[in-house]
Amino acid sequence: MPLNKSTGMPSASIPEVARATVLAGLQAADPALRRSAAQTLAGQPEAVPVILDALERESSLAVRTALLDSLAATPGDEAVQALAGCLRSEDAWLRNAAIDLLRGMPEQVAPVIAHMLIDPETDIRILAVGILDTLRHARVEDWLLQLIDAETDVNVCGAALEVLTTIGTSAAIGQVTTLMRRFADEPYITFAGRLLLNRLGRSA
């Protein structure tokens, strides 16, 4: 019968490669080799600059994904800062991939998120709110409330309010009410604010 019991699973293993080999691997013509080299960099803080450099020039989606995963699997501030830095990229795929990864790293993101929420660039603040959307961290509501207290851009406030409509608690009532007054002429803020207050059993 040509149905053959497999004689053994291991047909390949993660190669034990030296740094020089990894660097050479990242420049190989075959994307499978570059992806394999990218995966070996996971968990090595000293490899963060190498990963960022490779991300700059890499065109293969599979390799770029492996590079980002390696970054996310690396302990230390430098790696999470590097991922946060990807939010400034012109490349929408890179921004979205970085956001997805940061959402799954609540403890590592916590020390940097406050800075991202006061970044001079409006887009970065909006993307930071996007990270908070599904971040499993006890301080998410606090961060959003601090943001809407001080934020002057209506789009950033709108993004924060949208997240609060889902996760906001009674602790948000005062600040959301103030926000609605500050932006009384903005229909979306009024709408989302009412939605939240109604959910919390308060009328606007």
Binding site: L3, N4, K5, S6, S11, P31, S60, A62, V63, A66
Partner: protein, 286 residues
């Protein structure tokens, strides 16, 4: 999944539950929602008692520091859900023999085996269904060698799969002719014949352990059905990446009907066949 209505005999505090949930997630990739608290507590208490520990704290220390990994494996066996049946979502097997395999063999070098991975294996129903489908509905089997590997994190269920004894419920969707041909009746149950048991390799693997999955490469077809629904976003993405590396370029992966690779990873292409929607690793690496 069957969850008993019987109350646990002692309490797992909310703090203990959170600690355990985080620990179990980190080691297995399986995340329990808070709605599964009762399910988790009951099994945890069973294991605390079976291991002879006085309380959660003592048991948690045992889990974390034991060198053999035996208690961890027993716990995993308790916490994983194993419920399936022969011919489940059979349209994907129709797709396998009518669409995917013809496409795969069209570019496969003669002499290279066709490799199929079922992950998770559960009690073996899917792996044996694949084998029967190939024997009954894929005439090309005469010309190709096929290897079927069926893997799971749960060693107890793998032993059950190798034994191949099934309840009437598990076989209720099988064609009567297949039941007669490939099974032997044992009381109320049905045992799959040795000839079929011998063509499936059952192996243990933790999909969340990259080093373990690295041993699985060059597969043409993967069935991973109704597993990712138990994972959180991060683990799903990690699993999708693992499957990407497991597959040959052009290889296919079938997920459960409620699961969508498009929401997990952009590494795969959607393939809409007449029988089913499946996902494909691009022939040329993206």
């Amino acid at each position: 999944m069957n969850v008993s209505a019987e109350a646990p005999t002692s309490n797992i505090s909310a703090e203990d539950f959170e600690r355990f949930r985080e620990y179990f997630y980190r080691r297995s990739g399986i995340h329990f929602e808070s709605t599964k608290r009762y399910f988790v507590d009951k099994r945890l208490i069973d294991r605390i008692q079976a291991a002879g520990c006085a309380d959660f704290r003592e048991y948690f220390s045992l889990l974390r520091f034991e060198t053999s990994g035996r208690e961890w494996q027993r716990l995993v066996n308790e916490m994983t859900v194993n419920e399936t049946y022969f011919m489940r979502e059979h349209y994907q097997f129709d797709c396998m023999v009518q669409s995917m395999l013809p496409e795969l063999v069209a570019r496969k070098p003669r002499g290279e085996p066709m490799r199929i991975w079922i992950m998770p294996s559960s009690s073996g129903e899917e792996a044996y269904t694949v084998a029967m489908y190939l024997l009954e509905r894929w005439p090309e089997l005469a010309r190709w060698d096929v290897e079927i590997v069926s893997s799971d994190i749960d060693t107890r269920i793998l032993a059950q799969a190798e034994a191949g004894l099934y309840s009437p419920r598990a076989v209720h969707q099988l064609p009567a002719a297949w039941l007669q041909k490939y099974f032997t009746r044992e009381g109320e149950n049905w045992r799959i014949n040795r000839s079929l048991r011998e063509v499936v390799a059952f192996t243990r693997v933790n999909l969340n352990e990259r080093a373990e999955v690295a041993a699985y490469r060059n597969y043409d077809l993967v069935f991973c059905r109704n597993l990712l629904i138990y994972f959180d976003d991060t683990s799903r993405r990690r699993a999708a990446e693992a499957f990407y590396d497991v597959l040959r370029p052009g290889g296919f992966i079938c997920l459960g009907h409620s699961e969508s690779m498009s929401r997990i990873s952009s590494l795969f292409a959607i393939r809409k066949f007449a029988q089913a929607i499946v996902y494909q690793k691009p022939l040329e690496q993206a």
